[in-house]
């Protein structure tokens, strides 16, 4: 911010030397302090105005320039908020590739699903609820920085960090490791792009479903959300995020899980 402010001040001096009429100089209370001071007063501006002008024109962050990093790796942990009776947690890794205007991400994660007392009781009945068994997930995500800047943190002795507010959108692909067993390579090749699991895959993963679960047939879905990146000067970053499922593909994927959320935290290092 300092170099920018300096530039702004220099620009103001330059405009004064060009003979532009300076603003009336004011005291701290805003009153005029004499004719000599009136000559300078027209060059004066409030500090917050100068700061805002400087932020508005800056193009690079100050505390940590994440755009200049080549790659970022992080460990991630997610908690799913599905509107059914099963518990879901996710853990995995993420690779990020920054650019000037956005950041690309690839996630590989393991998802664990287990019963709740409610789903255990549901299994005693002739009713089942859509859900998804434990699995692997592959995410391809694009993040767009919406706002960024240097922020101080609590406690005060902790150094300031670079904060970036990102909007995210991406595709989440569900991969059931046992789903393709017994299938020919050609059948697998044709199955991986279809939006729903095939009957063979459903039969293969039936053993992994929970007793009260009706396997949701969707193979992939779209996600959107918001999240912050906090970069420390050393390159370490923390990235909390909230993602939401978009039911745009539901007619094709035949999913019964239309809306659900995924809160995650990533901790990583930028190189």
């Amino acid at each position: 911010m300092i170099p920018s402010l300096t530039v702004a001040l220099l620009l103001g001096v330059a405009r004064a030397e060009d003979g532009e009429s300076p603003p009336a100089e004011t005291s701290e209370t805003g009153e005029a302090e004499g004719s000599e001071e009136d000559v300078l007063s027209r060059h004066r501006a409030p500090f917050d105005v100068l700061v805002e002008q400087a932020i508005g024109t800056t193009s690079v962050p100050v505390e940590y320039n994440w755009r200049r990093t080549k790659v970022q790796v992080a460990a991630t942990g997610n908690h799913y908020f599905e509107l059914n009776n099963f518990n879901t947690l996710r853990a995995g890794g993420m690779v990020r590739l920054p650019s000037d205007s956005m950041i690309f991400e690839v996630h590989v994660s393991r998802v664990w699903v287990w019963d709740t007392p409610s789903s255990e009781l549901l299994a005693f009945t002739p009713y089942r609820q859509p859900g998804r068994p434990s699995r692997m997930e592959l995410d391809v995500t694009v993040g767009v920085p919406l706002a960024e800047g240097v922020v101080t943190v609590f406690p005060r002795w902790f150094p300031a960090v670079q904060m970036v507010l990102n909007a995210y959108g991406g595709l989440r692909y569900l991969l059931y490791p046992s789903g393709f067993s017994g299938m020919r390579v050609r059948d697998i090749g044709s199955a991986v792009l279809t939006p729903t699991l095939s009957a063979t895959e459903l039969a293969n993963i039936d053993e992994t479903r929970l007793d009260a679960m009706q396997i949701d047939p969707a193979r992939y879905g779209l996600m959107a959300g918001m999240g912050n990146d906090f970069y420390f000067r050393q390159g370490v970053f923390i990235s909390p995020r909230a993602m939401f499922a978009l039911p745009i593909l539901a007619p094709a994927t035949e999913t019964n899980l239309l809306f659900w959320a995924d809160f995650s935290l990533a901790v990583g290092v930028a190189f």
Partner: protein
């Protein structure tokens, strides 16, 4: 602002309903099978079940049973907790199904047997089944036990495959296997002999004591938990004539073991009755004559066309004196001389005559001359004159009926509905329309000319279109069967003939049985027997056939002393004759094969000028049936003969052993193409 508000509303409309909780769904379970059967002789209750659901049936769901006897009340109990009498394999019925079987030792007769599905072994909710329950009291083993043992033979009738077969009131053999039931059985003390042991109520012969006169073998005991197992070795050579093998079989049940006899019947010994009939058809030599008046010219263009069609040179036989009293005799002598001159070359012959004439009576005279030669010659042994082919100048046909079975007279007039009695080969093959059909489109007209047409047609055609569009014959050849000195012939219908060529005979025992396999195409084979040739039989048929209830066609055929081969198996079952002679039915004495170029002619007429044009096309015509082109006729799959064990059951083409379908009665008029078991087959043969 308004656009933003609309976008926000649309987003809410999309997301709003999506935010609802995920619903729960009924699994939609239902029993598709809930059968139980108690066998008193085995003290065993067999249970078979299958539950289908829309989703979500799995390992936590269980099947429970309840029943009552005079000694105990068994409340709902998980089926798998009972000790199984027999082996029951876990069955995979699919993701959304639960199925299997069980066998429970219950000494006393049970009642109120019910099955139900408990959705979860730890839950309280269940689904009752409409259970089907049957009781089979003690009785004959073949009908009152749940499992019988029988044997079948391989293709060589040398090795026995012993098989087990489930017998349940509501399930078939393979169904019981599919629900996981496995039975153990063993076979020992195999003996061979020939004594009828089976009956209509016990076609497998299970549980009938082996006759003491059966000869023991040293074959080892075999045992299996599958449904079939081969004996460890072939039967000894001295068992070749034996019709069956009887053995001691043992099966397990809740009381221990049950031992009784089991039977293996040999397959019918079947072979082709007659493998191949070699075709005696060979190329015949045409003996050509062109008959025309030498003192005048009728039509040079027509004569040229006739000579071209018959591929004749310029030689002619004058018929100016056709009205002379001795014309027929003279012509007959000329034809005979030519035939005798050619006969020395050893080939069969066909008389080819071009008849260029325009007077009424000439054709009749030529017919009369041919009548003197052709009918008498055609049934001779080779070399002989097989027949005659006459290309006349007018559409006429044959008037002397005795010639119609040996002479092709072209062109002929199309018969009318009133002429059914005069239809012969000439009419069928050479008939032309009264006028050339012509298609006219404005100034254009199109037509085509039959390759063997009359003078009127031809002259009118070339006047309209041109000579070059009348077509031309490229080749002309004749084929005819070569008859040996022992050949015998009989005329069939107006122009067919049956030939018994040269001792195409096969023999049969009275106990033999035949199978005729119906073919898609008509078969030109007949047979005759010594009985058919006797005067008594022929007289009987001539006088009394219609009273025997036989179809007219059969009576007509029997009057000739022959029958179509389709009827051989029935004939043998009625009369059991020992000798059968095969013959071939020819639909004409010779085959005329003509390759020619036909032209679709057209002409454009404008201002009195006619410009002919046409499109040529090579064609080939058989004046006769195409069976003449075959070099051999295979009877291997058409007629099969059973020499031994003809009253035994046998296998179908799908490999299924049909114990109630005996060869003699089942395959008389259907194809016999059995698929026998072979060593190395699965232990679960197809046996519905």
């Amino acid at each position: 602002m308004r656009l933003r508000a609309l976008a926000a509303a649309a987003a809410l409309a999309l997301v709003g309903p999506s935010c609802a909780k995920v619903p729960i769904f009924d699994v939609g379970a239902g029993f598709s099978l809930a059968d139980a059967a108690w066998f008193a002789g085995e003290e065993t209750l067999f249970v078979f079940y299958e539950v289908q659901a829309e989703q979500g049936i799995g390992e936590p769901s269980i099947i429970e049973i309840t029943y009552v006897t005079d000694e105990e009340v068994v409340d709902w109990t998980e089926l798998s907790t009972f000790e199984a009498v027999h082996t029951h394999l876990p069955v995979d019925c699919g993701v959304n199904a639960l199925c299997g079987s069980a066998s429970i030792h219950i000494p006393d007769e049970p009642r109120d047997v019910e099955l139900r599905l408990r959705y979860h072994r730890d839950g309280e909710l269940s689904l009752d089944a409409g259970t089907v329950f049957n009781i089979i009291d003690e009785g004959e083993p073949y009908s009152h036990r749940s499992f019988i043992v029988y044997g079948v033979f391989d293709a060589a009738n040398q090795r026995v495959q012993w098989r087990g077969r489930h017998q349940f009131p509501t399930l078939r053999n393979e169904q019981a296997e599919e629900y996981g039931l496995r039975r153990s059985f063993s076979v020992e003390d195999q003996r061979h002999g020939t004594t009828p042991l089976t009956s209509t109520v016990n076609p497998y012969g299970y549980g009938i004591d082996c006759p003491k006169n059966f000869t023991a073998t040293d074959l080892e005991t075999v045992q299996t938990d599958e449904r079939a197992i081969f004996s460890t070795a072939d039967l000894p050579i001295d068992a070749s004539a034996s019709a069956m093998v009887c053995a001691t079989s043992t099966v397990t049940d809740a009381t221990g073991t049950f031992t009784t006899s089991a039977l293996a019947q040999k397959n019918p010994e079947v072979s082709p009755a007659y493998d191949v009939l070699r075709s005696p058809v060979k190329d015949a030599t045409p003996v050509r004559f062109f008959l025309e008046p030498c003192d005048r010219v009728i039509s040079a263009e027509h004569e040229e066309m006739q000579r071209q069609r018959l591929l004749m040179g310029s030689q002619s036989t004058c018929i100016d004196d056709w009205e002379a009293d001795n014309f027929v005799e003279t012509l007959t002598a000329e034809l005979t001389d030519a035939i005798e001159a050619e006969r020395v070359n050893g080939n069969d012959m066909v008389l080819v005559i071009g008849l260029h004439q325009d007077e009424y009576g000439v054709s009749e005279a030529v017919e009369a001359a041919l009548e003197q030669i052709v009918p008498e010659e055609r049934h001779r042994s080779s070399p002989r004159l097989a027949g005659a082919f006459v290309f006349d100048s007018v559409a006429r046909g044959i008037e002397i009926s005795s010639l119609s079975s040996s002479t092709l007279w072209c062109p002929a007039e199309l018969p009318t509905t009133l002429d059914t009695g005069t239809i012969n080969a000439s009419v069928l093959t050479c008939a032309i329309l009264a006028d050339n059909p012509e298609l006219e489109l404005g100034p254009l007209s199109f037509s085509s000319l039959p390759i063997l047409t009359s003078r009127d047609h031809y002259l009118r055609f070339i006047d309209e279109y041109s000579k070059s569009q009348a077509g031309s014959v490229q080749s002309l050849s004749f084929r005819t069967p070569e008859f040996s000195t022992t050949s015998a012939h009989a005329d069939v219908g107006p122009f067919g003939v049956v030939s018994f060529l040269d001792e195409e005979i096969f023999s049969a025992d009275a106990r033999d049985a035949f199978s005729y396999c119906v073919q898609d195409e008509m078969q030109y084979f007949v047979f005759r027997t010594p009985l058919m040739q006797t005067d008594i039989f022929l007289d009987l048929i001539e006088d009394k056939c219609e009273f025997l209830g036989l179809p007219d066609q059969v009576c007509d055929s029997l009057e000739l002393g022959v029958l179509p081969i389709e009827m051989l198996s029935e004939w043998h079952s009625l009369f059991g004759e020992g000798t059968y002679e095969l013959g071939i039915l020819w639909d004409f004495p010779f085959l005329l094969r003509m390759e020619y170029e036909a032209v679709s002619a057209g002409s454009a007429s404008l201002f009195g000028l006619s410009v002919p044009f046409g499109f040529s096309d090579s064609s080939e015509t058989y004046y006769g049936t195409q069976m003449w082109t075959e070099e051999a006729f295979s009877l291997e799959e058409i007629l099969t003969q059973c020499h031994r064990f003809c009253d035994h059951p046998t296998f179908y083409s799908a490999g299924v052993y049909h114990v109630t379908d005996l060869f003699r009665t089942t395959y008389a008029s259907s194809c016999y193409q059995p698929d026998y078991p072979v060593l190395g087959d699965s232990g679960f043969p197809r046996d519905p």
